[in-house]
Amino acid sequence: MIYLKKIVPWYRLAAILFCMFIFPGIQGQNTISIKASATVVEATGIELITLKDISIDEASAANGILNISPVTDETAGKMLVKGKINSTVRLSYLNQLSLVNTSGEGTLLFKYIVSGNATDNQRASQLLDQVERIVQFNDKGQYYLWLGGQVDLTRAKPGSYNGEFTIQIEYI
């Protein structure tokens, strides 16, 4: 028994040394916080307002082909898109449309050309000639579109032709 008493300090010392190596405390640790966030807004609709229709004047046709530039021609149509301020939207539209003769037989194939600008400046508008185009509303939640196109009138029958331009706009 006397020897057992003597070794107790050794046992304790060994345990202390062992624990010192095994549990050295928190070392080499670093913590950082990052913020995860999302701002939810009330659902906001998109309003499309036609400010001016396209005017097709046969007299302006060259060799029966009528070209209306959406950037430079006064006869181009004009639309205003209203949405959430400064938000980004994806535009896509059908670039060909059959115009129906409302006073007789026949159709005309109209190929649309569209330009757009966040400010009301037709001459500075950019052609939206891709299938999809990403644009941004201005600080008033507005974006302007001008519609021109090309139509072959050489085989057009007399009459009044009508059609609707269809454009899809969605927030991204």
Partner: protein, 203 residues
């Protein structure tokens, strides 16, 4: 005779203590991290936060509304972890289950993370080499610098006066899915993701 018995008894006592403490077979790790100093530096990259509006600008209420920021999206948060290249680090992510506006307006969020430790030249390269931590895990252990191939080299030179071990930077990417947004009020929803990085000790 007495002297020999005393030594023998001491050795048995220490051995028993170790056996009880270790509690069975262990993998063969050399826990260099046990002696590591507190020299891990975490630096937020660009972006340093996870903002779901950076992926989808207009988030509106609705049960079919959700936004996913993936690892390879530019909107994934980036953290740079600088440390001694031959140490393993354990990264622990403590993420909330929801982003909250208030007690009654919460949007579920699932946070994922990936690491990149091939000594990438920049964040872009790091992302292409990143390893995604499987869904359901909130921590991962990896070396600051991953060895690409070949047998392990000799043990590293320990730090000493006049010698600083080489340091490298590993990258951490944090991303995830928000939603379904549900029928919640409009407002700024927030949550805090705590990222802890420490040298691994394999205790």
């Amino acid at each position: 005779m007495h002297f020999k018995f005393k030594n023998h008894f001491s050795a048995v006592a220490i051995l028993l203590f170790i056996l009880f403490t270790c509690g069975g077979a262990q993998a063969q790790h050399i826990s260099f991290g046990t002696w590591a100093g507190g020299d891990i530096v975490i630096t937020p990259g660009i972006p340093g936060d996870l903002n779901f509006n950076n992926k989808t600008q207009v988030i509106t209420p609705g049960w079919n509304q959700s936004v996913t920021i993936s690892l390879h999206d530019a909107e994934a948060a980036v953290l740079a972890i600088e440390g001694t290249e031959y140490y393993d680090v354990t990264v622990t992510i403590d993420a909330p289950p929801t982003l909250d506006l208030d007690a009654s307006n919460k949007i579920p969020v699932k946070i994922h993370f990936a690491y990149s430790n091939l000594n990438p030249a920049n964040v872009t390269v790091a992302k292409t080499q990143a390893i995604e931590v499987p869904v359901g895990f909130n921590s991962a252990t990896f070396p600051i610098l991953r060895r690409t191939n070949g047998p392990p080299g000799p043990p590293p030179t320990p730090p000493s006066a006049g010698y600083t071990p080489p340091r490298k930077t590993a990258y951490l990417f944090i991303y995830g899915t928000l939603g379904p947004v549900g029928n919640v009020d409009a407002g700024a929803y927030e949550g805090t993701v705590n990222v802890t990085v420490e040298y691994s000790k394999y205790n």
